[in-house]
Amino acid sequence: MGSKSFKVAGKVYTSVADSMPSFIANSNGAEGNTGQSSRVSNVGPHEQSIGFRGGAYNSTSLINQTMHPDLQFSSYEKLQGQNISQPNQVSNSDTSTEDPDDKIQSFDVDPSNPFMASGSNDKQKDKFPEQKTQRRLAQNREAARKSRLRKKAYVQQLENSRLKLTQLEQEVQRARKQGVVISNTGDQSQPNSGNGSLAFVAEYSRWLEEQSKHTSELRAAVTSHKSDSELRSLVENATTHFNDIFRLKKIAAKADVFHIIYGMWTSPAERCFLWIGGFRSSELLKLLVSHLEPLTEQQLASIDHLQQTSLQAEEALSQGMDALQQSLADTLARDAPVVPPGSSGMANYMGQMAMAMGKLGSLENFLRQADHLREKTLQQLHTILTTRQSARALLAINDYFSRLRALSTLWLARPQE
Protein backbone atom coordinates (compact mmCIF):
# COMPACT_ATOMS: atom_id res chain seq x y z
CA MET A 1 0.00 0.00 0.00
CA GLY A 2 1.63 3.16 -1.13
CA SER A 3 0.98 6.67 -0.13
CA LYS A 4 -2.13 8.32 -1.42
CA SER A 5 -4.38 11.18 -0.53
CA PHE A 6 -8.04 10.86 0.08
CA LYS A 7 -10.79 12.95 1.46
CA VAL A 8 -12.83 12.20 4.47
CA ALA A 9 -15.45 14.76 5.42
CA GLY A 10 -13.66 17.39 3.48
CA LYS A 11 -10.27 16.96 5.05
CA VAL A 12 -7.37 15.57 3.17
CA TYR A 13 -5.50 12.72 4.71
CA THR A 14 -2.51 11.01 3.37
CA SER A 15 -2.09 7.39 3.99
CA VAL A 16 1.41 6.35 4.59
CA ALA A 17 3.44 3.29 4.10
CA ASP A 18 2.68 0.22 6.00
CA SER A 19 5.18 0.33 8.72
CA MET A 20 3.95 1.71 11.92
CA PRO A 21 6.90 3.91 12.59
CA SER A 22 6.61 5.58 9.27
CA PHE A 23 3.02 6.20 10.06
CA ILE A 24 3.94 7.85 13.28
CA ALA A 25 6.62 9.88 11.65
CA ASN A 26 4.28 11.23 9.07
CA SER A 27 1.14 11.31 11.03
CA ASN A 28 1.16 15.01 11.42
CA GLY A 29 -0.13 15.30 7.92
CA ALA A 30 3.01 15.26 5.93
CA GLU A 31 2.91 13.90 2.47
CA GLY A 32 4.59 10.67 1.54
CA ASN A 33 6.64 8.47 3.66
CA THR A 34 10.08 9.15 2.53
CA GLY A 35 12.81 10.19 4.86
CA GLN A 36 11.05 12.50 7.16
CA SER A 37 13.03 11.42 10.11
CA SER A 38 14.05 14.93 10.83
CA ARG A 39 10.51 15.76 11.67
CA VAL A 40 10.12 13.16 14.29
CA SER A 41 12.42 14.70 16.78
CA ASN A 42 10.40 17.86 16.81
CA VAL A 43 7.17 16.21 17.52
CA GLY A 44 5.92 15.16 20.89
CA PRO A 45 4.25 11.84 21.51
CA HIS A 46 0.72 13.04 21.49
CA GLU A 47 1.04 15.02 18.33
CA GLN A 48 2.39 11.99 16.71
CA SER A 49 -0.83 10.25 17.22
CA ILE A 50 -3.06 12.83 15.67
CA GLY A 51 -2.36 11.61 12.18
CA PHE A 52 -5.89 10.57 11.52
CA ARG A 53 -7.59 13.52 13.04
CA GLY A 54 -10.97 12.75 14.34
CA GLY A 55 -10.75 9.27 13.07
CA ALA A 56 -11.39 6.39 15.34
CA TYR A 57 -8.21 4.58 14.73
CA ASN A 58 -7.38 1.75 16.99
CA SER A 59 -3.72 1.94 16.36
CA THR A 60 -3.71 5.59 17.17
CA SER A 61 -5.13 4.99 20.58
CA LEU A 62 -2.82 2.08 20.87
CA ILE A 63 0.11 4.38 20.29
CA ASN A 64 -1.27 6.75 22.88
CA GLN A 65 -1.55 4.02 25.38
CA THR A 66 1.72 2.41 24.73
CA MET A 67 3.93 5.36 24.13
CA HIS A 68 6.28 5.03 26.97
CA PRO A 69 7.63 8.26 28.31
CA ASP A 70 11.07 6.76 28.40
CA LEU A 71 11.10 6.10 24.75
CA GLN A 72 13.77 8.27 23.28
CA PHE A 73 12.66 9.80 20.11
CA SER A 74 16.06 10.37 18.79
CA SER A 75 16.93 6.76 19.05
CA TYR A 76 13.53 5.90 17.82
CA GLU A 77 14.16 8.10 14.91
CA LYS A 78 17.24 6.18 14.16
CA LEU A 79 15.31 3.00 14.22
CA GLN A 80 12.79 4.68 12.00
CA GLY A 81 15.47 5.91 9.66
CA GLN A 82 16.65 2.46 8.95
CA ASN A 83 13.27 1.30 8.00
CA ILE A 84 12.11 4.02 5.69
CA SER A 85 13.12 2.27 2.56
CA GLN A 86 12.01 -1.09 3.80
CA PRO A 87 8.55 -0.38 4.89
CA ASN A 88 7.68 -3.78 6.13
CA GLN A 89 9.23 -4.05 9.48
CA VAL A 90 9.75 -2.22 12.66
CA SER A 91 13.23 -3.54 12.88
CA ASN A 92 14.85 -4.48 9.73
CA SER A 93 16.06 -8.02 9.46
CA ASP A 94 18.87 -6.82 7.30
CA THR A 95 20.17 -4.77 10.09
CA SER A 96 19.24 -7.10 12.84
CA THR A 97 22.80 -8.03 13.40
CA GLU A 98 23.86 -4.48 13.67
CA ASP A 99 26.58 -3.51 15.96
CA PRO A 100 25.92 -3.14 19.62
CA ASP A 101 27.17 0.38 19.40
CA ASP A 102 23.95 1.24 17.82
CA LYS A 103 22.09 3.65 20.00
CA ILE A 104 18.84 1.92 19.56
CA GLN A 105 17.27 1.60 22.86
CA SER A 106 16.67 -2.02 23.38
CA PHE A 107 13.39 -3.03 24.80
CA ASP A 108 11.44 -6.16 25.17
CA VAL A 109 8.67 -6.01 22.70
CA ASP A 110 5.26 -7.20 23.70
CA PRO A 111 3.43 -8.04 20.46
CA SER A 112 0.42 -6.05 21.48
CA ASN A 113 2.41 -3.11 22.67
CA PRO A 114 5.17 -2.84 20.19
CA PHE A 115 6.45 0.42 21.45
CA MET A 116 6.42 -0.23 25.11
CA ALA A 117 9.83 0.18 26.54
CA SER A 118 10.08 -2.04 29.52
CA GLY A 119 13.33 -0.92 30.82
CA SER A 120 15.78 -3.27 29.22
CA ASN A 121 18.99 -1.61 28.42
CA ASP A 122 22.20 -2.17 26.57
CA LYS A 123 23.78 -4.16 29.36
CA GLN A 124 21.20 -6.85 29.24
CA LYS A 125 21.53 -7.04 25.56
CA ASP A 126 25.22 -7.82 25.88
CA LYS A 127 24.58 -10.80 28.15
CA PHE A 128 22.39 -12.73 25.71
CA PRO A 129 23.31 -11.16 22.45
CA GLU A 130 21.99 -13.37 19.68
CA GLN A 131 19.07 -15.13 21.27
CA LYS A 132 17.46 -12.20 22.88
CA THR A 133 18.00 -10.02 19.89
CA GLN A 134 16.48 -12.57 17.63
CA ARG A 135 13.48 -13.02 19.84
CA ARG A 136 13.00 -9.31 20.14
CA LEU A 137 13.28 -8.80 16.47
CA ALA A 138 10.85 -11.55 15.79
CA GLN A 139 8.39 -10.04 18.18
CA ASN A 140 8.88 -6.67 16.59
CA ARG A 141 8.20 -8.11 13.21
CA GLU A 142 5.08 -9.78 14.46
CA ALA A 143 3.86 -6.61 16.07
CA ALA A 144 4.60 -4.60 13.00
CA ARG A 145 2.75 -7.06 10.85
CA LYS A 146 -0.30 -6.80 13.02
CA SER A 147 -0.11 -3.07 13.00
CA ARG A 148 0.02 -3.06 9.25
CA LEU A 149 -3.04 -5.24 9.04
CA ARG A 150 -4.92 -3.03 11.44
CA LYS A 151 -3.96 0.02 9.52
CA LYS A 152 -4.95 -1.57 6.27
CA ALA A 153 -8.34 -2.40 7.68
CA TYR A 154 -8.78 1.10 8.94
CA VAL A 155 -7.85 2.69 5.67
CA GLN A 156 -10.24 0.38 3.90
CA GLN A 157 -12.94 1.48 6.31
CA LEU A 158 -12.13 5.10 5.57
CA GLU A 159 -12.34 4.50 1.86
CA ASN A 160 -15.73 2.90 2.26
CA SER A 161 -16.92 5.78 4.38
CA ARG A 162 -15.77 8.23 1.78
CA LEU A 163 -17.73 6.44 -0.91
CA LYS A 164 -20.75 6.25 1.33
CA LEU A 165 -20.48 9.93 2.03
CA THR A 166 -20.37 10.82 -1.63
CA GLN A 167 -23.39 8.62 -2.23
CA LEU A 168 -25.27 10.19 0.65
CA GLU A 169 -24.55 13.68 -0.59
CA GLN A 170 -25.87 12.77 -3.96
CA GLU A 171 -28.97 11.22 -2.52
CA VAL A 172 -29.70 14.21 -0.34
CA GLN A 173 -29.38 16.39 -3.37
CA ARG A 174 -31.76 14.17 -5.20
CA ALA A 175 -34.20 14.05 -2.37
CA ARG A 176 -34.17 17.81 -2.21
CA LYS A 177 -35.31 17.91 -5.76
CA GLN A 178 -38.43 16.14 -4.63
CA GLY A 179 -36.91 12.84 -5.43
CA VAL A 180 -36.41 13.61 -9.06
CA VAL A 181 -33.74 11.21 -10.25
CA ILE A 182 -30.71 12.42 -12.09
CA SER A 183 -29.49 9.56 -14.20
CA ASN A 184 -26.39 7.78 -13.00
CA THR A 185 -24.48 8.60 -16.11
CA GLY A 186 -24.85 12.15 -14.95
CA ASP A 187 -25.79 13.13 -18.45
CA GLN A 188 -28.61 15.47 -17.71
CA SER A 189 -27.33 17.79 -20.36
CA GLN A 190 -28.60 15.86 -23.34
CA PRO A 191 -29.93 18.26 -25.92
CA ASN A 192 -33.61 17.36 -25.83
CA SER A 193 -34.17 16.27 -22.31
CA GLY A 194 -31.97 18.87 -20.71
CA ASN A 195 -34.08 21.93 -21.21
CA GLY A 196 -37.47 20.29 -21.12
CA SER A 197 -37.00 18.23 -18.02
CA LEU A 198 -35.19 20.89 -16.07
CA ALA A 199 -37.94 23.36 -16.72
CA PHE A 200 -40.49 20.80 -15.63
CA VAL A 201 -38.59 20.03 -12.46
CA ALA A 202 -38.90 23.68 -11.49
CA GLU A 203 -42.57 23.80 -12.47
CA TYR A 204 -43.33 20.65 -10.59
CA SER A 205 -41.63 21.94 -7.45
CA ARG A 206 -43.70 25.07 -7.63
CA TRP A 207 -46.82 23.04 -8.21
CA LEU A 208 -46.10 20.93 -5.15
CA GLU A 209 -45.67 24.00 -3.01
CA GLU A 210 -48.93 25.51 -4.18
CA GLN A 211 -50.62 22.17 -3.79
CA SER A 212 -49.66 22.06 -0.15
CA LYS A 213 -51.06 25.57 0.33
CA HIS A 214 -54.38 24.59 -1.18
CA THR A 215 -54.40 21.46 0.94
CA SER A 216 -53.79 23.37 4.16
CA GLU A 217 -56.58 25.80 3.36
CA LEU A 218 -58.92 22.97 2.57
CA ARG A 219 -58.02 21.08 5.71
CA ALA A 220 -58.57 24.14 7.87
CA ALA A 221 -61.94 24.69 6.24
CA VAL A 222 -63.04 21.09 6.74
CA THR A 223 -62.01 20.89 10.38
CA SER A 224 -63.58 24.24 11.19
CA HIS A 225 -66.84 23.10 9.58
CA LYS A 226 -67.17 25.94 7.17
CA SER A 227 -70.34 26.33 5.20
CA ASP A 228 -70.89 24.37 2.04
CA SER A 229 -70.71 27.38 -0.21
CA GLU A 230 -67.35 28.46 1.21
CA LEU A 231 -66.12 24.92 0.95
CA ARG A 232 -67.29 24.67 -2.61
CA SER A 233 -65.15 27.52 -3.85
CA LEU A 234 -62.15 26.11 -2.02
CA VAL A 235 -62.79 22.71 -3.56
CA GLU A 236 -63.06 24.24 -6.99
CA ASN A 237 -59.81 26.11 -6.56
CA ALA A 238 -58.06 23.03 -5.29
CA THR A 239 -59.40 20.95 -8.15
CA THR A 240 -58.36 23.49 -10.73
CA HIS A 241 -54.92 23.55 -9.27
CA PHE A 242 -54.73 19.78 -9.15
CA ASN A 243 -55.61 19.58 -12.81
CA ASP A 244 -52.90 22.06 -13.62
CA ILE A 245 -50.36 19.28 -13.36
CA PHE A 246 -51.83 17.64 -16.44
CA ARG A 247 -51.32 20.81 -18.39
CA LEU A 248 -47.72 21.07 -17.18
CA LYS A 249 -47.07 17.46 -18.07
CA LYS A 250 -48.46 17.98 -21.53
CA ILE A 251 -46.09 20.87 -22.19
CA ALA A 252 -43.13 19.00 -20.76
CA ALA A 253 -43.95 15.91 -22.82
CA LYS A 254 -43.56 17.89 -26.00
CA ALA A 255 -39.95 18.53 -25.02
CA ASP A 256 -39.24 15.10 -23.58
CA VAL A 257 -41.99 12.52 -23.57
CA PHE A 258 -39.78 9.84 -22.05
CA HIS A 259 -39.02 11.92 -19.00
CA ILE A 260 -42.72 12.27 -18.26
CA ILE A 261 -44.15 8.97 -19.39
CA TYR A 262 -41.62 6.88 -17.53
CA GLY A 263 -42.07 8.89 -14.38
CA MET A 264 -38.60 10.33 -14.04
CA TRP A 265 -40.24 13.37 -12.48
CA THR A 266 -41.96 11.37 -9.78
CA SER A 267 -40.49 10.19 -6.52
CA PRO A 268 -39.23 6.58 -6.47
CA ALA A 269 -42.10 5.24 -4.40
CA GLU A 270 -44.65 6.84 -6.70
CA ARG A 271 -42.85 5.24 -9.59
CA CYS A 272 -43.70 1.81 -8.18
CA PHE A 273 -47.27 2.44 -9.15
CA LEU A 274 -46.56 4.19 -12.41
CA TRP A 275 -48.93 3.68 -15.27
CA ILE A 276 -48.34 5.65 -18.47
CA GLY A 277 -46.80 8.64 -16.77
CA GLY A 278 -48.93 8.80 -13.62
CA PHE A 279 -51.32 7.11 -11.25
CA ARG A 280 -54.13 4.68 -12.10
CA SER A 281 -57.45 6.35 -11.36
CA SER A 282 -59.08 2.99 -10.71
CA GLU A 283 -56.58 2.35 -7.92
CA LEU A 284 -57.04 5.81 -6.50
CA LEU A 285 -60.79 5.31 -6.35
CA LYS A 286 -60.32 2.08 -4.46
CA LEU A 287 -58.19 3.86 -1.89
CA LEU A 288 -60.58 6.76 -1.52
CA VAL A 289 -63.72 4.82 -0.68
CA SER A 290 -62.69 4.18 2.92
CA HIS A 291 -61.95 7.88 3.43
CA LEU A 292 -65.28 9.04 2.10
CA GLU A 293 -67.60 7.12 4.34
CA PRO A 294 -70.39 7.41 5.12
CA LEU A 295 -71.57 6.99 1.55
CA THR A 296 -75.09 6.29 0.36
CA GLU A 297 -75.86 3.08 -1.48
CA GLN A 298 -76.24 5.08 -4.66
CA GLN A 299 -72.89 6.70 -4.17
CA LEU A 300 -71.19 3.41 -3.48
CA ALA A 301 -72.68 1.90 -6.62
CA SER A 302 -71.70 4.90 -8.71
CA ILE A 303 -68.16 4.90 -7.43
CA ASP A 304 -67.88 1.20 -8.05
CA HIS A 305 -69.14 1.70 -11.57
CA LEU A 306 -66.74 4.57 -12.13
CA GLN A 307 -63.90 2.40 -10.98
CA GLN A 308 -64.84 -0.29 -13.47
CA THR A 309 -65.19 2.26 -16.22
CA SER A 310 -61.81 3.72 -15.53
CA LEU A 311 -60.28 0.27 -15.42
CA GLN A 312 -61.76 -0.54 -18.80
CA ALA A 313 -60.23 2.54 -20.34
CA GLU A 314 -56.92 1.83 -18.62
CA GLU A 315 -56.85 -1.67 -20.05
CA ALA A 316 -57.62 -0.36 -23.51
CA LEU A 317 -54.80 2.15 -23.33
CA SER A 318 -52.44 -0.49 -21.98
CA GLN A 319 -53.24 -2.72 -24.91
CA GLY A 320 -52.44 0.13 -27.25
CA MET A 321 -49.10 0.63 -25.52
CA ASP A 322 -48.33 -3.05 -25.87
CA ALA A 323 -49.16 -2.88 -29.55
CA LEU A 324 -46.88 0.10 -29.87
CA GLN A 325 -44.04 -1.73 -28.20
CA GLN A 326 -44.54 -4.77 -30.39
CA SER A 327 -44.76 -2.71 -33.52
CA LEU A 328 -41.62 -0.79 -32.66
CA ALA A 329 -39.73 -4.01 -32.05
CA ASP A 330 -40.99 -5.47 -35.31
CA THR A 331 -40.02 -2.38 -37.23
CA LEU A 332 -36.50 -2.34 -35.90
CA ALA A 333 -35.99 -6.08 -36.21
CA ARG A 334 -37.35 -6.26 -39.71
CA ASP A 335 -34.25 -6.31 -41.89
CA ALA A 336 -31.18 -8.45 -41.58
CA PRO A 337 -28.87 -7.14 -38.89
CA VAL A 338 -26.27 -6.16 -41.39
CA VAL A 339 -27.63 -3.56 -43.73
CA PRO A 340 -26.46 -4.46 -47.23
CA PRO A 341 -24.12 -1.87 -48.66
CA GLY A 342 -25.37 0.35 -51.39
CA SER A 343 -28.06 2.95 -51.68
CA SER A 344 -31.02 0.60 -51.47
CA GLY A 345 -29.79 -0.79 -48.18
CA MET A 346 -29.42 2.66 -46.75
CA ALA A 347 -32.83 3.65 -48.02
CA ASN A 348 -34.34 0.67 -46.23
CA TYR A 349 -32.57 1.59 -43.07
CA MET A 350 -33.71 5.19 -43.25
CA GLY A 351 -37.24 4.08 -43.97
CA GLN A 352 -37.12 1.76 -41.02
CA MET A 353 -35.90 4.56 -38.78
CA ALA A 354 -38.55 6.92 -40.06
CA MET A 355 -41.25 4.43 -39.24
CA ALA A 356 -39.81 3.83 -35.81
CA MET A 357 -39.70 7.58 -35.23
CA GLY A 358 -43.35 7.82 -36.06
CA LYS A 359 -44.18 5.16 -33.54
CA LEU A 360 -42.23 6.88 -30.81
CA GLY A 361 -44.14 10.02 -31.63
CA SER A 362 -47.39 8.36 -30.66
CA LEU A 363 -46.15 7.98 -27.09
CA GLU A 364 -47.09 11.56 -26.54
CA ASN A 365 -50.68 10.80 -27.47
CA PHE A 366 -50.83 7.88 -25.08
CA LEU A 367 -49.60 10.07 -22.26
CA ARG A 368 -52.16 12.70 -23.15
CA GLN A 369 -55.01 10.22 -23.18
CA ALA A 370 -53.86 8.65 -19.91
CA ASP A 371 -53.82 12.06 -18.23
CA HIS A 372 -57.15 12.86 -19.80
CA LEU A 373 -58.57 9.70 -18.30
CA ARG A 374 -57.23 10.68 -14.88
CA GLU A 375 -58.69 14.14 -15.09
CA LYS A 376 -62.08 12.97 -16.32
CA THR A 377 -62.32 10.23 -13.74
CA LEU A 378 -61.69 12.60 -10.86
CA GLN A 379 -64.09 15.09 -12.37
CA GLN A 380 -66.73 12.38 -12.55
CA LEU A 381 -66.05 11.45 -8.93
CA HIS A 382 -66.81 14.95 -7.80
CA THR A 383 -70.23 14.76 -9.45
CA ILE A 384 -71.01 11.74 -7.29
CA LEU A 385 -69.86 13.29 -4.01
CA THR A 386 -71.16 16.07 -1.81
CA THR A 387 -69.06 19.17 -1.41
CA ARG A 388 -67.77 18.07 1.94
CA GLN A 389 -66.96 14.62 0.63
CA SER A 390 -65.16 16.18 -2.32
CA ALA A 391 -63.04 18.20 0.08
CA ARG A 392 -62.17 15.10 2.03
CA ALA A 393 -61.38 13.26 -1.18
CA LEU A 394 -58.95 15.96 -2.24
CA LEU A 395 -57.30 15.87 1.18
CA ALA A 396 -57.05 12.10 1.10
CA ILE A 397 -55.48 12.10 -2.36
CA ASN A 398 -52.98 14.71 -1.33
CA ASP A 399 -52.11 12.89 1.89
CA TYR A 400 -51.57 9.67 0.02
CA PHE A 401 -49.15 11.16 -2.47
CA SER A 402 -47.39 13.16 0.25
CA ARG A 403 -46.75 9.94 2.08
CA LEU A 404 -45.36 8.31 -1.03
CA ARG A 405 -43.03 11.24 -1.49
CA ALA A 406 -41.98 11.19 2.15
CA LEU A 407 -41.32 7.48 1.88
CA SER A 408 -39.13 8.15 -1.13
CA THR A 409 -37.14 10.75 0.73
CA LEU A 410 -36.56 8.38 3.61
CA TRP A 411 -35.60 5.65 1.24
CA LEU A 412 -33.09 7.78 -0.59
CA ALA A 413 -31.51 8.91 2.65
CA ARG A 414 -31.30 5.50 4.23
CA PRO A 415 -27.89 4.36 5.48
CA GLN A 416 -26.52 1.76 3.16
CA GLU A 417 -24.29 -1.04 4.24
Binding site: L306, T309, S310, Q312, A313, E315, A316, L317, Q319, G320, M321, A323, L324, S327, M355, G358, K359, S362, N365, F366, R368, Q369, H372, L373, K376, T377, Q379, Q380
Partner: protein, 99 residues
Protein backbone atom coordinates in the same frame (compact mmCIF):
# COMPACT_ATOMS: atom_id res chain seq x y z
CA UNK B 1 -66.77 12.61 -47.47
CA UNK B 2 -69.75 10.90 -48.97
CA UNK B 3 -68.02 7.61 -48.82
CA UNK B 4 -67.22 8.25 -45.22
CA UNK B 5 -70.82 9.07 -44.39
CA UNK B 6 -71.97 6.10 -46.33
CA UNK B 7 -69.78 3.69 -44.43
CA UNK B 8 -70.52 5.40 -41.15
CA UNK B 9 -74.24 4.86 -41.45
CA UNK B 10 -73.96 1.24 -42.43
CA UNK B 11 -73.04 0.02 -38.93
CA UNK B 12 -73.97 1.03 -35.40
CA UNK B 13 -70.33 1.60 -34.47
CA UNK B 14 -67.68 2.51 -37.03
CA UNK B 15 -64.00 3.23 -36.50
CA UNK B 16 -61.73 4.59 -39.23
CA UNK B 17 -58.10 3.74 -38.55
CA UNK B 18 -54.64 3.87 -39.95
CA UNK B 19 -52.40 0.82 -39.78
CA UNK B 20 -49.59 2.75 -38.09
CA UNK B 21 -51.85 4.13 -35.38
CA UNK B 22 -51.60 2.30 -32.07
CA UNK B 23 -54.17 4.48 -30.36
CA UNK B 24 -56.64 3.07 -32.87
CA UNK B 25 -55.80 -0.27 -31.39
CA UNK B 26 -56.74 1.02 -27.92
CA UNK B 27 -60.09 2.42 -29.01
CA UNK B 28 -60.91 -0.76 -30.86
CA UNK B 29 -60.08 -2.72 -27.72
CA UNK B 30 -62.37 -0.50 -25.66
CA UNK B 31 -65.27 -1.03 -28.02
CA UNK B 32 -64.77 -4.78 -27.99
CA UNK B 33 -64.62 -4.71 -24.22
CA UNK B 34 -67.93 -2.87 -24.13
CA UNK B 35 -69.45 -5.61 -26.23
CA UNK B 36 -69.81 -3.54 -29.35
CA UNK B 37 -68.49 -4.99 -32.59
CA UNK B 38 -67.37 -1.93 -34.46
CA UNK B 39 -66.83 -1.94 -38.21
CA UNK B 40 -63.20 -1.03 -38.72
CA UNK B 41 -61.95 0.60 -41.90
CA UNK B 42 -58.28 1.19 -42.56
CA UNK B 43 -57.85 4.26 -44.73
CA UNK B 44 -54.11 3.97 -45.47
CA UNK B 45 -54.72 3.56 -49.17
CA UNK B 46 -57.60 5.98 -49.59
CA UNK B 47 -56.28 9.49 -49.69
CA UNK B 48 -59.70 11.03 -50.22
CA UNK B 49 -61.24 9.40 -47.17
CA UNK B 50 -58.22 10.23 -45.11
CA UNK B 51 -58.39 13.83 -46.14
CA UNK B 52 -62.11 13.98 -45.46
CA UNK B 53 -61.63 12.59 -41.99
CA UNK B 54 -58.80 14.98 -41.25
CA UNK B 55 -61.09 17.82 -42.15
CA UNK B 56 -63.32 16.90 -39.25
CA UNK B 57 -60.83 18.81 -37.20
CA UNK B 58 -59.51 16.48 -34.56
CA UNK B 59 -55.80 16.21 -33.95
CA UNK B 60 -54.81 13.46 -34.19
CA UNK B 61 -57.51 12.69 -36.69
CA UNK B 62 -57.37 8.97 -36.06
CA UNK B 63 -59.11 6.95 -34.82
CA UNK B 64 -62.23 8.59 -36.22
CA UNK B 65 -65.22 7.16 -34.41
CA UNK B 66 -68.85 7.16 -35.49
CA UNK B 67 -71.72 5.86 -33.39
CA UNK B 68 -75.20 5.64 -34.84
CA UNK B 69 -73.93 7.33 -37.98
CA UNK B 70 -72.85 10.40 -36.03
CA UNK B 71 -69.25 11.57 -35.59
CA UNK B 72 -68.15 11.10 -31.99
CA UNK B 73 -64.56 12.24 -32.34
CA UNK B 74 -61.10 10.86 -31.68
CA UNK B 75 -59.62 9.03 -28.70
CA UNK B 76 -60.00 11.96 -26.34
CA UNK B 77 -63.70 12.31 -27.06
CA UNK B 78 -64.27 8.60 -26.71
CA UNK B 79 -62.59 8.58 -23.30
CA UNK B 80 -64.59 11.58 -22.10
CA UNK B 81 -67.86 10.00 -23.16
CA UNK B 82 -66.86 6.66 -21.78
CA UNK B 83 -66.10 8.02 -18.31
CA UNK B 84 -69.33 9.93 -17.91
CA UNK B 85 -71.39 7.06 -19.28
CA UNK B 86 -72.51 8.79 -22.44
CA UNK B 87 -70.69 6.40 -24.74
CA UNK B 88 -72.52 3.38 -23.44
CA UNK B 89 -75.80 5.25 -23.76
CA UNK B 90 -75.12 6.14 -27.35
CA UNK B 91 -74.11 2.57 -28.15
CA UNK B 92 -77.33 1.28 -26.64
CA UNK B 93 -79.37 3.82 -28.58
CA UNK B 94 -77.60 2.82 -31.78
CA UNK B 95 -78.23 -0.80 -30.91
CA UNK B 96 -74.55 -1.60 -30.95
CA UNK B 97 -75.02 -3.11 -27.52
CA UNK B 98 -78.02 -4.02 -25.42
CA UNK B 99 -76.91 -3.36 -21.89
Amino acid sequence: MDRVKDLASKSAAVIFTKSTCCMCHSIKALFYDLGASPAVYEVDHDADMEWALRRLGRNPAFPAVFVGGKYVGSAKDVISLHVDGTLKQKLIEAKAIWF
